[in-house]
Symmetry: C2
Subunit: 200 residues, 2 copies
DNA sequence: ACCTGAACACCGTTCAAGT
DNA sequence: ACCTGAACACCGTTCAAGT
């Protein structure tokens, strides 16, 4: 999934146009309703044209997932950078940003993890996923350096903290939580996560 | 999704045979690879035969989900019944049973929640889902009666407790946790959940 | 009551051919 | 370099017809 130079040609930029449309139908109809032929039709191009840009349907899904990880990474990094420098404030900011992404782009997030987890997955995808979580990983490492956070592998500590949020995300995406209540619950969950991170 | 009398006919019991095969491919290949025609072929029956038992593909998926909720309910109830009567023991037993089901039947669980959440979903499905969680709901209500658990809507309290496990489930199903480590992590998570349930 | 066979409108993928 | 058109093997769904 090397970043391809966005050359201009007959259509304009078919690759980007296909991805944009795909993300749209992903949001409205879910991954199941994605059709390469329909995507081609919507872009006024023959059904075989996407082949130039994506070897098969899975390649397009992988590209969507790749873009998703890049976007998530940007949002987590921005949240961390804009927060007050105190550990708790940055952790809360990153947690809220993660839950916001996960609930606003539920189908995309599911696709992202499915693509990354798929046997024989593109290696670039794992790298993109790792980069996406750079901000929380750094925060944990900082917290460990100052003694605010329990020791051990930062990656693992971060995953445990993330797990504390993932339950809320699942419930929200399953419609079990009203959107209005979500922010408050995330704040509670962050307090909970904070307890779990404290050195013992 | 009324329980249909399992009448015998030419094939034997096509409906049950289709569901069994479907759950098999669900486990090995995921929901995406499910094909009604292939299911019919595997059962030595014409591609139109399933139509007698399932109006369309979604109806078969709903039936799978329905069976899944019934099975989950049986396993949670059994875990609760077999545990020591103390609140903590029953909570731990139910939690382990839930995580075991969720990791052993990951694709099915995903299908179950997707089917239940789908707009216009079969009403019998929501009822089956509610029955599936009878054991933990009763446990929470018992805990509230004895003062071991914080007050409020038992359904909501149960969901919050469930959320504490769902993160682990997500991570396990994403391959981020080795199976050997899972039981220990569930035990830790149960302690965590227990803290969250304590009256304030 | 349960199943078959043909038909229709869709897929994803491949490949020669066009510009 | 990028796209088209025809072709192939699959789908899900429908419907008349068989037993």
């Amino acid at each position: 999934m090397a970043t391809r130079a966005p050359r201009s040609y007959h259509h304009g930029n078919l690759r980007a146009a296909l991805l944009e449309r795909a993300e749209g139908t992903l949001r409205t109809g879910g991954a199941g309703r994605l059709s390469l032929r329909e995507l081609a039709r919507d872009n006024g191009v023959s059904h075989a044209a996407p082949r130039r840009h994506f070897a098969d349907k899975q390649a397009l899904l992988d590209a969507l997932a790749h873009e998703g990880f890049e976007r998530l990474g940007r949002e987590l990094a921005a949240a961390s950078a804009q927060a007050e420098p105190a550990f708790e404030a940055r952790l809360a900011a990153i947690a809220h940003a993660y839950v916001r992404f996960a609930t606003r782009h539920a189908a995309l997030l599911e696709l992202m993890f499915a693509a990354k987890h798929r046997p024989g997955a593109d290696e670039g995808l794992a790298a993109a996923a790792e980069r996406a979580f750079a901000a929380p990983r750094e925060l944990i490492a900082d917290g460990q350096a100052t003694g605010a956070v329990v020791g051990g592998d930062p990656e693992r500590v971060m995953l445990v903290a993330l797990a504390g949020l993932q339950g809320l995300v699942s419930m929200a995406n399953a419609g079990m939580i009203e959107e209005a209540a979500l922010d408050g619950l995330v704040t509670d969950a962050v307090d909970h996560v904070m307890l779990g991170l404290r050195p013992r």
